[in-house]
């Protein structure tokens, strides 16, 4: 059962990632990225990370991708233009990418001590996760709230800046 689920959703993730590269319209790329993220959430569940699977769906497939599709539609992004890349880059780039994946794959497959995964080996419950997070790692957790506050302020400042300049120019 786990094997079938793994193959279905790993295949979905890889197919979505390939589709992200092949599509020329940004909204199609965004939708295939959502497929990748939901498939990854199922893979997290197979690895026993229940909290992260739900967080992946809510944060990534929900919030972040809504932001992406919102910006794609706001900016009315059209098809991307096909530009002529150099022939040498094409001839060298894809074999190089395949070679890097092959090297990583041989390292992973030859690695000693990697076991097998199954839910019977235990699901990390949310209670266990939060105990570690709020006891040992409380300070980093609190610091992330400052990070998010700064990110919000930065996003608002960046998105408003052009507007303010435009008004100033219009005022002159």
């Amino acid at each position: 059962m786990h094997l079938i689920l793994f193959f279905i959703f790993a295949g979905c993730a890889l197919a979505g990632a390939v589709n992200l590269l092949l599509q020329s319209h940004p909204i199609n790329s965004a939708l295939s990225l959502i497929v990748v993220m939901i498939s990854l959430a199922v893979l997290y569940l197979l690895l026993g990370a229940e909290f992260l699977a739900i967080a992946q769906i809510i944060v990534y497939a929900g919030a972040v991708m809504v932001l992406f599709t919102f910006v794609v539609m706001l900016l009315n992004a059209g098809r991307e233009e096909r530009t002529r890349g150099s022939r040498a880059a094409l001839a060298l780039g894809f074999p190089a990418a395949v070679a890097i994946v092959a090297i990583i794959a041989t390292v992973i497959l030859r690695a000693q001590g990697l076991s097998t995964a199954g839910v019977q080996q235990g699901i990390t419950s949310t209670a266990e996760l939060s105990r570690v997070l709020f006891h040992g790692l409380l300070l980093p957790f609190e610091i992330t709230s400052v990070l998010i506050l700064i990110a919000i302020l930065g996003a608002v400042a960046l998105a408003r800046q052009g507007n303010g300049d435009g008004e100033r120019k219009a005022g002159k």
Binding site: H2, A13, A49, F68, E80, I100, I104, L147, G154
Partner: protein
């Protein structure tokens, strides 16, 4: 056939999926010509790394690996908000999203 169905999955397969996803993200980052799609490729790379974090956390029964993924998610969400704000600012200034035309700092 029954043993095939109940056979547990090697952790290395998850790592392989993660490696291939990361490579696809790198290819997208280099090949795509739309600013938003380039940014999506970065998110794809972050997700691929998260998958290997979860796989290793499962391998060594380490809860801290999953907490690391949680922090990566937080940082990625903040990065997406700021990055998309920058993209909006760039679009206002240059009126295009094609990375070839945003070449003010190019040699």
């Amino acid at each position: 056939m029954n043993s095939f169905l109940t056979h547990p999955i090697p952790v290395s397969w998850y790592l392989l999926v993660s490696a291939v996803l990361f490579a696809l993200g790198v290819i997208g980052f280099l090949v795509k010509r739309n600013l938003i799609t380039v940014f999506m490729s970065i998110e794809l790379m972050l997700n691929a790394v998260n998958l290997s974090f979860v796989a290793f956390a499962h391998q060594w029964h380490a809860v801290k690996g999953q907490i690391f993924v949680f922090f990566v998610m937080v940082v990625a969400a903040a990065e997406a908000a700021v990055g998309l704000a920058i993209i909006i600012a760039v679009f206002r200034a240059r009126n295009t999203l094609a990375v070839d035309r945003i070449n003010l700092m190019k040699l």
